[in-house]
Amino acid sequence: MDFRVSPDQQALQEGIRSFCEGRVSIDHLRELETRDAFDRDLWNELAEMGIFQLRQPEAAGGVGLGTADAVLVFEGLGRALVPGPLVWSHLAAGIIDGAATGGTVVGGLDLIGAGSNPHLVAHWNHLDALLLLRPEGVFRADPKALTAEPVAVPLDPLTPLHHVTDLPGGERLAGPDEARRLWLDGAALVSGQLLGIAEATLTLALDYAKKREQFGRAIGSFQAIKHLLADMFVRQEVARAGAYAGGATLDHPEVGDVERAVSGAKVTSGESALKNAKTCIQVHGGMGYTWEVPAHYYLKRAWVLETIFGTPEEHSSHLADRIATGD
């Protein structure tokens, strides 16, 4: 048992971090707001880095890494608010041709989780294929063949949405076990993204609290502010523990209970992301309420991520049922 991030994993994290800092700055995100939140070149670069084929076996041209590694990668992508159907295309690698290499942009709909209604599909305009996760199996649909109404003003300016009203059955790709596995994988990866948001919002709030002066000194010297930031740190570390345990348990199910670990990851990381993003706005005071300060992007993305692969209520109830039955 060594639950530290290994040196190899640190290198992986560092690679993602430096790529995102150079390529997906807040300024670039602001620019993408005006370009339907999708950057095809960025998508290809992410594919070249192996984001989508991260967990595909090396024999199949993949990177051959585990789910814990993938959680670290998605933590970095979440921290940088990288837009696009990242998790769906990653899940589709090995199932839908071209997803792994980025040639086919795959979006999806989670019809297992409680948050599936209404059927809102993200990044519709850029999708080549749609992955549908249902309790009874994994299905593929052609987005071009469906009718979908664009949502006039999406909450997250970097997650444009379409409302699908005539959802087709689609082509069946796999059965219920595979659907459940993909759903759990998806929840674990989204937990990584949510952890990244918890981290990014702490960093943003901390930088501001050190710089911003009122009453003649940095607001970060006041205990009222300090304790908000200390609580953000605790929530970040709770989310880290939860999200990493989700990934590590999926890699080695013998260490515990996969469903319990993944539900725990989604609950803790979701709460941390939302609370930290809101606290980040609060620490920024009035400026935090402006579009100009990026705090709102994190909160809006966290709200998007909360609704897929199981809501917190659903995962909490699931955990409660498992305690009651002694699982």
Binding site: M1, D2, F3, R4, V5, S6, Q9, A68, L72, L206, A209, K210, R217, A218, G220, S221, F222, Q223, I225, K226, H227, L229, A230, D231, F233, V234, E237, V238, A239, R240, A241, G242, Y244, A245, G247, A248, T249, H252, E254, V255, G256, R260, A261, S263, G264, V267, T268, E271, E313, H315, S316, S317, H318, L319, A320, D321, R322, I323, A324, G326
Partner: protein, 396 residues
């Protein structure tokens, strides 16, 4: 990032589990909390059994009779102890988790010989004389005075929050040896035998009722100078050896026990009726319990990260220790809130009523209020985190 225990850890688990399966039932039930003599006998007897089986001082070096266990083996130990509902470390807490480790690091060979093996066997009970009425969170402002007189210190002062004073043989005592030095500089760490003249013990009634803590009134107590641990006026540094330890690992077994407690609350909720359904049929309660379970699991994973980090340095990371302490103690209180709601009016009784475990639940509920105060209040933990880990400026 691997949660798999090694083969040798698992072997350790199997051996420990089979020993506990026999040892725990044969040790009998814990005596009532107010019966101190019986508690001493019970806890010391359990410590003796641990010693004879080779499980005492798991984290202590071998040369002092410990097992020198890997941090991962210690985690396995805490998991199995909780699982087997084995006796808690109890009155041996201060000796095993504070006094002993401090003597091992800072004591003279003579001091170690006189105390360390006896602590390990449950033959010496220790208590702690750190806090004072005017020195709580600001511990370094303590005033208990020690003046040299020949080969003795003459000590007078007033200590508070001393656990197990009624049954302790020795006290780890912080005194001021230089009243003119800056507050952190004039403190010394003494071993005070509890049978010396001039020590008065007054049990303190807490909101939990029992005399868990006492006040110590010291009037010209003569303590041999050879009982000083570390240099004169270097006691603050010596103290921090133990405080760091306390915040790092001392609560690990209680954290794991919370898992068992939450599962028990769920069982009780299924038996308690509300109108024509059970309390457990309430979806809101189930969601809240599920959320607590997620947090408890994350807490245990945090402990695993902390233990992994300590496997190189031997000392847990300060930021993570403070985060663990803060999160654990507030989580324990949230669980206590749920226990209270599940008991309903049965929670108005401190003894079992209507076949519900009010006595044990209420003991936990009331004691949970102490957790966010003892060993550094939650507010102090937040100051530590924000100043030392996040690098925010001090308020003054």
């Amino acid at each position: 990032m691997d949660l798999r225990y090694s083969e040798s850890d698992e072997k350790f688990r199997v051996e420990l589990r089979s020993w506990l399966a026999e040892a725990v039932p044969s040790h009998g039930d814990a005596p009532p909390r107010h019966d101190w003599l019986a508690r001493r006998e019970y806890d010391a007897g359990w410590q003796r059994k641990l010693f004879e089986a080779g499980y005492a001082g798991l984290h202590w070096p071998k040369e002092y009779g410990g097992r020198d266990a890997l941090p991962t083996e210690q985690l396995v130990y805490y998991e199995e102890i909780a699982r087997a509902h084995a006796p808690y470390v109890g009155i041996n807490f201060v000796g095993l988790l504070h006094g002993g480790p401090t003597l091992i690091v800072e004591g003279t060979p003579e001091q170690r010989k006189r105390h360390v093996p006896h602590i390990l066997k449950g033959e010496q009970i220790w208590c702690q004389g750190f806090s004072e009425p005017e020195a709580g969170s600001d511990l370094a402002s303590l005033r208990t005075r020690a003046e040299r007189d020949g080969d003795h210190y003459v000590v007078s002062g007033h200590k508070i929050w001393t656990s197990f004073a009624q049954v302790a043989d020795y006290c780890e005592l912080l005194v001021r040896t230089d009243p003119d030095a800056r507050k952190h500089k004039g403190i010394s760490w003494l071993i005070m035998p509890m049978d010396l003249p001039g020590i008065e013990i007054r049990p303190l009634q807490t909101i939990a009722g029992e005399g868990e803590f006492s006040e110590l009134f010291l009037e010209e107590v003569r303590i041999p100078i050879e009982n000083r641990v570390g240099e004169e006026n270097d006691g603050w540094r010596v103290t921090n050896v133990t405080l760091r330890f306390e915040r790092g690992t001392a609560f690990v077994s209680e954290m794991y026990q919370l898992q068992e407690h939450l599962a028990e609350i769920v069982k009780v909720a299924a038996r308690v009726t509300r109108h024509d359904a059970s309390a457990w049929d309430d979806a809101a309660l189930r969601k809240e319990v599920g959320h607590l379970q997620a947090d408890l699991d994350a807490l245990w994973s945090m402990v695993k990260i902390s233990v992994s980090e300590a496997s190189d340095s031997g000392v847990p990371d300060m930021g993570r220790s403070a985060a663990v302490k803060l999160f654990y103690t507030e989580l324990a209180q949230r669980i206590a809130d749920v226990a209270m709601r599940v008991l309903g009016r049965a929670g108005l009784s401190r003894s079992d009523v209507a076949e519900l475990p009010s006595e044990r639940f209420l003991a936990k509920v009331l004691m949970s209020l102490n957790l966010t105060i003892a060993a550094g209040t939650s507010q102090i933990q937040r100051n530590i985190l924000s100043e030392r880990i996040l690098g925010l400026p001090r308020e003054r």
